[in-house]
Symmetry: C3
């Protein structure tokens, strides 16, 4: 990251990411509907993702793809015809998946349908009612307290009808069929860290992965939360065994420390890689154990799949006050934070690509490194040099049962240094990949 911060080009990357986020911000997304489609189409300008449509009513494991929800307008008007609460000003004002309504209503009744945050009186909360037939408005607590008339005209001009659930998918074939999954959710309306930051980082990561040939295949999913990953898993059940590593990306734009939540397996390769790279990142970070609550890792890590998929974020959901409120704004997400998160994901990909098990082809005693120019000529000086140590570690532990990452952990040497040592040894035919 140090290098990147110094580079005008790269500061540009963070800025470009934030610009994409600004474009996507006004769209009213939900778990179905035109908002998701508009979002995915906007991403197609950068990566050639496919938009999949799954009809309402489709059974996906224990769930059913719901009716499609679209909204055009909504308001609460006083009897003078003034829009007191106006969907056109913030799409958070409507409880997501509210059914249509259009009538005059008493304040008392209306209050049963209003949500506010007394502890943050200027923020609008974000609420959903996907699977409960209901309607409602969200508003700031100050706005709520200003409602004093006896009656209001309430309208939600929305439709709930047969349609489909939309998601985006982008697959990059590599040398091997084994694949790395990156999944992000696309169902939140005008909220930035949760979830536009994940959409943007995943998109830029996909663009970079595509930029050169890779050993692994890569799959990028842009799915509505919960129902979207369940739908994908249901429709691709036979293919999940190809997923050898994966990350859910979410909440990667705030300025907080990095957080890696381990997969259910707890010690899969991606778990060890993320722990290793964060430990060497020089940045504050937390590694947390898997719990069956959070984002779509809940589905990927359900016991029937138990995929090695962790979750990478910055401040965990619900641990920042702006979470699921209008406080999660375009100002809350920083260009630099987006870029740092992208960089960690790139390092994860590079580590996955380079992390292999090798065989020392000269396993009986050390090979004579000096005659190959890999070791100092004059002996007797105290102390070791770091590249020499990396060479010795790779040789000593490359017995077919230690990956470079495991050697890096045991030697307490940065993965990059060990990987460079392995490459030098390969050049000198002292090392070869173990199957």
């Amino acid at each position: 990251m140090r290098h990147i911060r110094d580079s005008g080009e790269h500061i540009g990357v963070g800025r470009a990411m934030h610009d994409v986020l600004l474009d996507l911000f006004p769209i009213c997304r939900s778990i179905t509907g035109d908002g998701v489609r508009a979002t995915l189409r906007a991403l197609q300008k950068r990566i050639p993702l496919t938009i999949q449509e799954v009809p309402s009513g489709t059974q996906v494991f224990d769930w059913t793809v719901p009716l499609e929800w679209n909204i055009h307008d909504a308001y609460i008007k006083d009897l003078n015809g003034h829009r007191i609460i106006d969907f056109q000003k913030s799409n958070l004002h409507v409880v997501n998946y509210s059914h249509p309504i259009n009538r005059r209503i008493s304040l008392d009744e209306l209050k049963n349908h209003l949500h506010s945050l007394p502890e943050h009186p200027t923020w609008i909360p974000y609420r959903t009612s996907y699977y409960k037939d209901s309607w409602g408005f969200c508003l700031s607590h100050n706005e709520l307290q200003n409602l004093k008339d006896a009656e209001y005209d309430v309208r939600i001009d929305a439709s709930l009808s047969k349609g489909s659930l939309s998601y985006g998918e982008f697959f990059v074939p590599g040398q091997v069929r084994d694949e790395v999954l990156f999944s992000t959710h696309v169902c939140h309306p005008s909220l930035c860290n949760d979830n536009l930051s994940g959409i943007v980082v995943t998109t830029f990561l996909a663009e970079w992965v595509l930029s050169k040939p890779r050993r692994y295949s890569y799959r990028f999913l842009f799915v509505p939360g919960t129902i979207g990953s369940i739908t994908w898993l249901s429709q691709n059940r036979g293919q999940t065994s190809h997923i050898k590593h994966g990350l859910v990306l979410t909440g990667v734009g705030d300025p907080g420390p990095f957080t890696y939540k381990r997969s259910r397996r707890g010690d899969s390769e991606i778990d060890r890689i993320m722990a290793n790279l964060l430990r060497h990142s020089g940045s504050p970070h937390n590694i947390v154990e898997f719990i069956p609550y959070g984002y779509d890792e809940r589905q990927y890590c359900s016991p029937g799949f138990n995929l090695p998929v962790g979750c990478f974020s910055r401040t965990p959901h619900s641990q920042y006050p702006e979470y699921h409120t209008s406080g999660d704004s375009v100002e809350f997400v920083k260009a630099e934070s987006l870029e740092e998160s992208l960089e960690q994901c790139r390092t994860a990909v590079e580590t996955l690509e380079r992390n292999r098990v090798y065989l020392n082809r000269n396993p009986h005693c050390e090979p004579q490194l000096g005659k190959r120019g890999l070791y100092r000529g004059i002996g007797g000086q105290a102390g070791e040099k770091s590249m020499e140590m990396a060479l010795l570690w790779v040789l000593n532990l490359s017995d077919g049962s230690h990956s470079l990452l495991e050697i890096a952990e045991r030697a307490d040497i940065r993965f990059e240094v060990l990987a460079a040592a392995a490459e030098k040894l390969m050049e000198h035919a002292l090392l070869s990949p173990a199957q």
Copy 2:
């Protein structure tokens, strides 16, 4: 325990336990003889235990059932005929298993047969000589120092003759043949924490176990220490494989912290249950590793058996000054302590009964809990609810290889909450017992 302390009925339980202890206190028990029989017969008023008799001379592994010892009277008289030391006042005065004696003896010779505790000059020590042909008296150090005459008349009116070793056994069949063993020793004379507290808690526990149908079978043993458990194991060698869990109960009446000593296996289910319940007990406690010294767990955990039997007590033996002295009196044992110990044992039984391995019947992705009324309707609010988390944990880890207790430990949720969650999921056909 909190609830129990508030309940008049339950305070009554502790009081009732202490009353039984008072009844049993005066009896002069030993490893054989009428004292043990009288004790077991008194317990038959509460539970239908069987009294077994094993003849003197019976070979039990490397040991032999000894001659039966009975005592009627004993004293040291001065030459004026005054009983200076009187068995009628405390049965601790006679070294247990002393052979009979009746003669005049010089103070010098007598002193070779006297035991006192200089550091606690008012307490009578408790000493035994089961396997060494000997005799002796125990007395307070103050009494010892008052012996100033040249000669005394010494009498121990005891008999050592062919008879039998007596022990009590109570078996409660359950749905399955696998059994849970509770074992307590019954060989100490007028000492309260060691061992009347164990006898009383085991008796009340047996009564409660009998009060409703159980999954496991339960076996309660009231045996003389060492020789009694060896005798039982010798005579029931073929049946020990049914013992899947067990506890030796002893020293459970003093006001000290709970102590659980692990079985030799160290991580058997009973070990993990006791550690879990003590951790959540809110009470001070210690978990200690197995050592081959202590009570009858020494025999149950000998390498030829290696049964999963731990030892539950309060302050460990020999770590309180009253241990094996007349200081271990009816006042030293508290009604409340007895009741708390009983309550921990009941919790252990309930946890054993409910601790099963389940299978999530909908293992691919989460089931839709909301449509079953098991999940909040309105989404978007930060934070999880504890029952929802318990449901998610049970579903996520019920893959046939985690017991509820293991899930409780990983989730750091109280076992009771997880067990309730499992029951809810069973009601909704989302979970079934594995096997």
Copy 3:
């Protein structure tokens, strides 16, 4: 050690060791040549070791036995004919394996061939150039700064020619073919801790091992560093499977704390023994993990061999300023330190010899120790006695899967006490060796 320090005879051992070191000090050793031969011949006065000769040019794995190097004289003279730097005063003055030279040379050119230690201006460094065709002198920094003439006469009267590599080997057959390896290097010129201390301790240890019959066979190697152990392994490749335990001995004469560096396996029996005995030594010590840098354990622990060979030293190489300088003098090594190191090695041998897996022949319940006189007669006293506890531990864990050392670690009892308990139990036919 306490006993030994009090004993005039044993103080004598340390003194005798230091005397041998004084004899060996002046010899100019290298990885080949007459210095090594003279050293090995001197050791033959104490132990009947065999001197092996391996011809120059012999291929040993990835290496080749080099030309033999011998040196007779060397100096730097000023133009007045005064020897400014004189090999006769210290053999450290010549870079080891320098090729011959004899010419007048400018100070500027000469300086490219000079090595000094500015931070220790009175010490001569030790440098080698075994595998790079070169020459050079080592001198104190003060001497370097006094070189002010424009030209000097430089001579190194050395030869590099076909010959052989010499090493010493001493094999002591035991009851079993399994062997214990002790290896020390013999290639350093007038340096004391590194490596004369290792030579001396290994020699005295071999003498003591030979002094009585042993269960294991023992092999003692006195080899030039790196190329010597590689040569031995190359020429004895088929026999290495007999090596069940091993130690490289080096740097065992300074007054610093003991250091044990684990084998690559990390938990082999020798690793556990050394950790155990140092923990109970009462001396300051460090246990460090294996790294593939250090002494000949690098070769023994190369992945193709992966032998259970650790490294025993006092202050680790390069962690004391005298390392590889003239400061590593006969005063730096202490008689007492040599003797303490020898004593630790003897204890390691004795522990290896006695560390066996036993079977409790009476595994069902405890045997009755009292009737065999192994247990106190009068019961009831608080507390256990250490020999009784040792007996109980050995009985409880001798199930065929725990060695005495493992029992010692679990019981936290000194190995010697447990081994004595095992012997008592053997006498009473309560224990027998497994297999």
